[in-house]
Structures are given as structure tokens and as C-alpha cells.
């Protein structure tokens, strides 16, 4: 069934986009401009691969769980570097996270040609992880693995936490009004910011770990076709709402899965999909900024300020 396979492909593509999209959405919402989901994803991918390759035989069936957890922790740690740089030295995370993306990329380049290279030493990649460490397929006849369910669960949990918990409110508050958070709310803004970095990095790291264990089964340089960057578009399209990230992740997954079919079957260059993606983003952001401009007469703080005394 070609249609079924295509559906599976679309959701397989959507999985890392949803998780990385959540990473970006949570970060942006919390006032952290994490552009480094790509790097955190790569670090998550490489550490989790290492776990499965090196400890698969000792851990047995537990391997996959440990590998995913280690992937998350590693992603969080990678983001923590940027968090410390920001809290201690006021280094803008936009810069530091982008640079850390390249560090992660070249680190993988090194690893797959060095310590983690497959035994024949021919290809710049690791050996394939053992079948029992791979994520189970949930839809027969497709590549759709259980990671997709995990991504959706993560989206729903993030949505609920942001909406209904003190921690979620602190995150929104610190992102939108850090001074009010500190003074009126007595929030430890530095700690909240650090936590935002950590959670964001963990989600991106999980995306990478799942990609290896559900799709590629090995680590190589181009394991991510820029998921971490597309994730920014996914998050923005969703208006930073974790529940909507699921939907926008699936949309982008469909576009990217369709790209190769487009080229193969219709002879249309797959790059056209990027044009569509960019057009979607520009339209959404354009509408958004138009809407907020229309209503700004009512909501601009300086207006409210002046109104306060008029």
C-alpha cells in the first residue's frame, strides 16, 4: 500500500519536527531564543547511539529506555552551556546556541570517523544498533515507530503543564515580563531561565535519540536535514502553543515527506517544498504582525501608560 507507506513516512518525518518544535516553542515562550535545537538534537542522537552500541549487550531490553534518557540529558547539558553563558556573562543565546550547533555537527563528524566508526573503517558512520534496541514499529507495512506516540504525548504534556501549573505560569511570566516576575512574583528569574534551557535542550535531545533508534539505526553526519531549524518554523506556525506544535509538525512532516515523492513522480524539484514552507511562515508571521499592529492602538504599553494619566 503506497498510500499507507506515505502516511507512515509523513508521521515519521513529523516526529523529530514535533519534538524539536516543542523545544523551540517552550524556549521562546520562556524568553529564551534557543536557535540551537539542531545542535542539541545532534548531541542527543550521538550520545544515545553510543549508549546503545557500547552498553546494549549489558543492558539488554532496558537499553532503549536508558538510551533515550541519556539522549535527553545530553541535549539538556548542551543547552546548559548556553544557559550558563547567558546567566553568568550575558552572552546572547542566539549567538551561543548557533555556534554550539556547529560544534555538535563537527563533533559528530569526528566521532563517526574516529571512536564511533563502524569496524570496517570504510564509511563515516557507526555500525547499526542491535534490533532489540530499536523502537518498535506501530503500523505494519510502514516505518512508523512508537517515537511518534512519544512526541504527541510530549506535546500534550507540555501544553497541560504550561497552562495549568505554577511552573508553566512562571515560564510564561518570565518570558513575557521578567521584571514583573522578579519583583511582583518573587520569581528567581535566572533559575527559571536555566530550567527553560534545560527542558528545551532535553526535548531536542530526545528528538535526536528517537531519530536514531526509530529511523536511521546508525549515526552519520547528515542524520538531521536541519530538523532543528525547521523546528523554529514549526513552533512559530503553532504560535508557540505546544498543542498546535503537534499539528504544525505533522504539516511540515507531510511537506518534507512529500518532497521526495514530488521529485520522483512529478519531476518537480523537491526544493519547491522549501518555497512552500517559507511562504507558509511568511504568511503566518505577516498576518500575525498585521493583527497585532491593528490592535496595538489598544494594547501598546506606552499607550496604556499615557492613558493612565489622560
Amino acid at each position: 500500500m503506497a498510500a499507507l507507506a506515505l502516511l507512515g513516512d509523513m508521521l515519521v518525518r513529523a516526529t523529530p519536527l514535533i519534538l524539536a518544535g516543542l523545544a523551540v516553542a517552550v524556549a521562546f515562550k520562556g524568553g529564551v531564543l534557543n536557535i540551537g535545537a539542531e545542535g542539541q538534537l545532534l548531541i542527543g542522537a550521538c550520545t544515545s547511539t553510543a549508549v546503545s552500541l557500547k552498553f546494549g549487550s549489558t543492558l539488554g531490553p532496558l537499553t532503549i529506555i536508558v538510551a533515550l534518557i541519556i539522549g535527553m540529558l545530553a541535549g539538556a547539558l548542551w543547552a546548559a552551556i548556553a544557559a550558563e553563558l547567558r546567566n553568568r556573562f550575558h552572552v546572547l543565546e542566539v549567538i551561543s546556541t548557533i555556534m554550539l550547533n556547529f560544534v555538535a555537527l563537527y563533533l559528530i563528524s569526528f566521532l563517526v570517523r574516529g571512536p564511533l566508526q563502524e569496524p570496517t573503517r570504510i564509511y563515516p558512520q557507526t555500525s547499526t544498533i542491535a534490533p532489540f534496541t530499536q523502537l518498535p514499529v506501530i503500523l505494519e507495512g510502514t516505518r512508523l515507530h512508537i517515537g511518534f506516540i512519544l512526541a504527541i504525548a510530549a506535546g500534550l504534556i507540555a501544553w497541560w503543564v504550561v497552562r495549568n501549573t505554577v511552573a508553566g505560569f512562571r515560564l510564561r511570566l518570565t518570558g513575557a515580563n521578567p521584571r514583573a516576575a522578579r519583583i511582583a512574583g518573587m520569581v528567581n528569574v535566572e533559575r527559571t531561565t536555566r530550567n527553560v534551557f534545560l527542558i528545551s535542550g532535553a526535548l531536542a535531545g530526545l528528538a535526536g535519540a528517537i531519530e536514531v533508534h526509530g529511523v536511521t539505526f546508525a549515526l552519520y553526519e547528515n542524520i538531521s536535514p536541519g530538523y532543528g531549524y525547521t523546528a523554529i518554523a514549526v513552533a512559530l506556525l503553532a504560535g508557540l502553543n505546544p498543542a498546535w506544535v503537534i499539528a504544525s509538525g505533522i504539516l511540515f512532516g507531510a511537506l518534507e515527506a512529500g518532497a521526495s515523492a514530488l521529485q520522483r513522480d512529478a519531476g518537480v524539484p523537491s526544493t519547491l517544498v522549501w518555497v512552500v514552507e517559507a511562504a507558509v511562515i511568511l504568511t503566518v508571521l505577516g498576518t500575525e504582525s498585521y493583527r497585532s499592529r491593528r490592535s496595538r492602538q489598544f494594547v501598546a504599553p506606552e499607550f496604556a501608560a499615557a492613558q493612565g494619566s489622560s
Binding site: A180, A184, M186, V187, V299, G308, S309
Partner: protein, 494 residues
């Protein structure tokens, strides 16, 4: 003014004429068929309480916002103003209540902002010198704006408005940020501008200033023009009654005979020092006891009380010394837009804000909405509902919301930092009344106010914070003023 002829003559037509201006913000009618005429070469006071629509009306005249209906004539000719650029081209200048200067740039650069072509600092300085001769407003063109004091920044704003050959100058609460003497000085200079032919609209809620300096007066109340005419036709009482829609509340007479027997000590500072992050010593050997059921006033020069108040409010930790604070504590920050409230959040989210850093677990929004609703009712916050964003409240209502949140649950202590700043008479007296009531209910109140009369009126005792140390003073405006200024003089002499 009668129309002289069919062809409007530039010399006889009013400088600015607005007819039937109506403006809605969402469901709220901010202005309702308002007409306003500024006669050439006069100073016209535009009075009204907070939220009456004064600024909105003038922003329409300045092209910042568009009206839903109505007509604007500049020099007798109907104009459609799409942006401030249009207004400036027609010779209208506006000075906003909140400074719109770039702190990192020099005075000359700020004045030339929005200009075209090459920036020539010499030409610009010359231009400023000419303006200075004409207007008497002096500033150093090469000074960085951030290095200037508030009065000088205000002068820069006015010069900036005048630099584009403005014939109509709109001043939005120009004295709000100034000390009384500075305010009188500014208004006297504005009066000189008028004598030289500029037509000025002075937006204010200070009746005295208007009475003293204006030729004409208009009063807005809830978006309607309730009174307009020559200043000499009205008495202070008439104007006040029109502004408020009733006689102003009289200040509650104070029972000062017996200072309530001091209850147990609630707040205690012992030999507290504070050194800020840039290594400057802000407090030195400060000791202060505040008991339940008293209001302790703190007098300090502008801005210098911030550290002490934040230490008392548990927002800062002393570098040295002992501090005892109660568990339940309210803090009213001076900057309600950025520190007291999360402006972009709804009212109920702003209520949830209190002590959110110390809580855990779930937030039950329905309960918080109910709590907000009851606070809004008890403190008479005028709003369209709990889903409204805090920034859309008028200043007085924002402060009432902050006060409601901080006083809710009868805290053991409340720290108030200039709580009536920028508020009109009614809102201020309501805030004071709530602080008194909290005191009477046994709350320990610490009040800092830049208005010494307010301190004397409210406080049971006053301490002066000078150069980082506390000085006891009698409860007398003159003595407090002297204590403050002695410090100031000493500082400036050095």
C-alpha cells in the same frame, strides 16, 4: 470664534480645531463627539481625571491614532492626519508624558531624529542655539541624553517638538516627572513661548497649574467635553467639580492625638548594609523597627529609597546585618507597568502573580478568576472583566489592582513605594484610605512617597534616608524637607 469668511484666513482661524471626534477602543468609547478649539497664541489647559481621554484626543490631533468620526482643522483647513509625520509637517509638535528619547544618543542627534539627509552636528548645534535664544530652553547639544537629569530631558523633548517650526505645541503632563520648583519654572517658560506666538495645549490633571498659566480651559470627563471656555470664567471649585463629576473628597481628618500604642515589632532591620552589584554602597548601618498597626514614612530623594524598600520587601538580600521579616508581606512597586504588573497578562493572571516564585503544583484558574472578581469589586477597579489585559487599565485602576492583590489576605506588613505617583485626586485618596485601613487592621505599613505632604498626612512617624543612612525627624513637612535637602546640599557641594 466666528468664521471670518468662506476662505479661511490663516491669521484668524484657530490654530487647531477638532469637531465631533469619536473614538472607540474595542467596546470602550474613549471619546464621544468631542470638540476642541485652540485659539492662536493662547495656552489652553486640557483637564480631566485619569482615563478621561485627554491624551487620546491629542494623539488624534498629532496623527498618532485615527478617530472613528470627526474632523480636524489645522489653521482653518480640514486635514487628514495619517501619522505624526503629517502633523509635524503642519506645524504641530507633541511632547509625550513618557520620554521618547534615545538615551544612548546626544541631544543634537535626538533632535535630528526623523530628519533626512546627512547629520551635521555643527549645524545642528547652531540650530539648537537659535532655538535656545528664542525659547529660553537651554541644553548642551553634545551631551548624551542618558547623562541628563529629568528636567533637562524634558527640555530636550520640548526643543525636539519645537525644532520642526511647530506653531502648535501639545504638552502631555509635562510636569508629572518634575519637582514642584522645576515644574513652575517649566510652565513659566511655556508661558513665554505663548507670548511669542506659539499656541500650546497643556494636558494636565493639576488644577492649580492650569489656573495659574492657561488662557482657556477644557474639561474632559469619561470621553465627553463637559466644559470649555476662558479660564477667567471659572473658579477652581467649578473646574474640580466638573473634572470629578462631584465635589472632591475631603481628606480624612487625622486623629493624631494618641499614636496607636505600638504593637509588636513586625519588621526589624539591625545594622544593615547593602552594596549593589556594581560595588556601590547603598545602605550603611541601617536599623529600623516597624510595629503592627503603624505607618512608618520614609522620605528620600528621588530613587534613593529603592534599595531599602526592596530589602524590607524581601526582594533584595542585605549584604550585612540582621533582618526579620514576616511571612506574609505585600509590596507595591513604584513602576506598576513593569514591576507591579505583567502588563501583557490578564487581570486574573496578574492576581495569580503574587509570590508565584514560592508556590508549587497546579494553578486552579477558576478559583483565581473568582478571587479576581471579588478583588475587583472590593477595590472598585473599573474594568470590562477579568480577561482584560492589565495594560488596558488606566493608571489608577492598575494601582488599585496591585493594591488589591497585595492587601488580599491581610498581610502582616505592606511596603508601598510611591503608591500614588501619577494618580489623580480620587484614586490617590482611595489608595491612602486603603493603607490607613490596613494599618488600623494591624498591618505594619512602610510608605515611601516623593510627596512630603502625603507622608506627613499618612505616616505615624517619618524617617529620612540620606546618603544611605536613616535619620529620625519630627513629623513635620518643613523639618523633613530640610533634612532631605541638607543631605542634597552636602552631596552637591562635594
Amino acid at each position: 470664534m466666528a468664521k471670518a469668511s468662506a476662505l479661511p484666513s490663516a491669521h484668524h482661524a484657530p490654530a487647531l480645531e477638532m469637531r465631533g471626534i469619536t473614538k472607540h477602543f474595542g467596546n470602550v468609547e474613549a471619546l464621544s463627539a468631542v470638540s476642541f478649539t485652540l485659539r492662536r497664541g493662547t495656552l489652553h489647559a486640557l483637564l480631566g481625571e485619569n482615563g478621561a481621554g485627554k491624551t487620546t484626543l491629542m494623539r488624534i490631533a498629532f496623527g498618532m491614532i485615527s478617530s472613528d468620526a470627526g474632523d480636524v482643522k489645522v489653521g482653518g483647513i480640514s486635514r487628514r492626519l495619517h501619522s505624526p509625520r503629517d502633523a509635524i509637517a503642519l506645524g504641530i509638535g507633541m511632547v509625550h508624558q513618557h520620554f521618547m528619547l534615545v538615551p544612548e544618543m546626544t541631544v543634537a542627534e535626538n533632535i535630528e531624529l526623523g530628519g533626512r539627509g546627512r547629520f551635521d552636528s555643527d549645524a545642528s548645534a547652531n540650530k539648537l542655539r537659535l532655538l535656545e535664544e528664542k525659547t529660553g530652553f537651554a541644553v548642551d547639544p553634545s551631551a548624551k541624553v542618558s547623562s541628563l537629569g529629568i528636567p533637562a530631558q524634558q527640555r530636550v523633548e520640548i526643543l525636539k517638538a519645537l525644532a520642526n517650526d511647530a506653531e502648535v505645541l501639545i504638552l502631555d503632563e509635562p510636569t508629572a516627572v518634575l519637582a514642584p520648583a522645576e515644574a513652575q519654572d517649566l510652565l513659566a517658560r511655556v508661558r513665554d513661548l505663548v507670548l511669542n506666538g506659539t499656541s500650546v495645549v497643556l494636558i494636565t490633571h493639576k488644577l492649580r497649574d492650569a489656573l495659574r498659566y492657561a488662557d482657556d480651559v477644557s474639561v474632559l470627563r469619561h470621553g465627553r467635553m463637559v466644559l470649555t471656555g476662558a479660564m477667567s470664567d471659572f473658579s477652581e471649585q467649578q473646574l474640580a467639580a466638573q473634572m470629578l463629576g462631584r465635589e472632591p473628597r475631603t481628606t480624612v481628618a487625622k486623629t493624631r492625638e494618641s499614636i496607636s500604642p505600638a504593637g509588636e515589632s513586625v519588621i526589624s532591620l539591625r545594622e544593615v548594609d547593602f552594596i549593589d552589584s556594581s560595588g556601590v554602597r547603598r545602605l550603611h548601618n541601617v536599623s529600623l523597627e516597624v510595629s503592627a498597626g503603624e505607618i512608618v514614612g520614609i522620605a528620600a530623594l528621588e530613587g534613593s529609597a529603592a534599595w531599602l524598600l526592596r530589602i524590607l520587601a524581601a526582594r533584595l538580600t542585605p549584604t550585612q546585618g540582621r533582618r526579620v521579616l514576616p511571612e506574609r508581606l505585600g509590596f507595591i512597586a513604584e513602576d506598576r507597568q513593569h514591576e507591579g504588573l505583567a502588563s501583557t497578562f490578564t487581570l486574573y493572571e496578574n492576581v495569580a502573580l503574587k509570590d508565584i516564585g514560592k508556590r508549587k503544583g497546579r494553578i486552579r484558574w477558576p478559583a483565581i478568576k473568582r478571587q479576581t472578581l471579588s478583588l475587583i469589586e472590593r477595590f472598585d477597579v473599573r474594568t470590562s472583566g477579568v480577561d482584560m489585559r492589565a495594560q488596558n487599565l488606566s493608571g489608577g485602576n492598575q494601582q488599585k489592582l496591585v493594591l488589591a492583590r497585595e492587601l488580599d489576605g491581610n498581610p502582616d506588613a505592606i511596603i508601598a513605594e510611591n503608591p500614588t505617583r501619577g494618580l489623580d485626586i480620587n484614586a490617590s485618596s482611595m489608595i491612602r484610605e486603603h493603607l490607613r485601613r490596613a494599618r488600623d487592621a494591624g498591618c505594619a505599613v512602610v510608605l515611601y512617597s516623593s510627596d512630603i505632604d502625603e507622608l506627613v498626612d499618612l505616616a505615624d512617624r517619618v524617617v529620612v534616608l540620606r546618603e544611605g543612612t536613616l535619620i529620625k525627624t519630627p513629623l513635620d513637612a518643613g523639618a523633613i524637607g530640610n533634612a532631605l535637602l541638607a543631605g542634597h546640599r552636602r552631596l552637591t557641594d562635594e
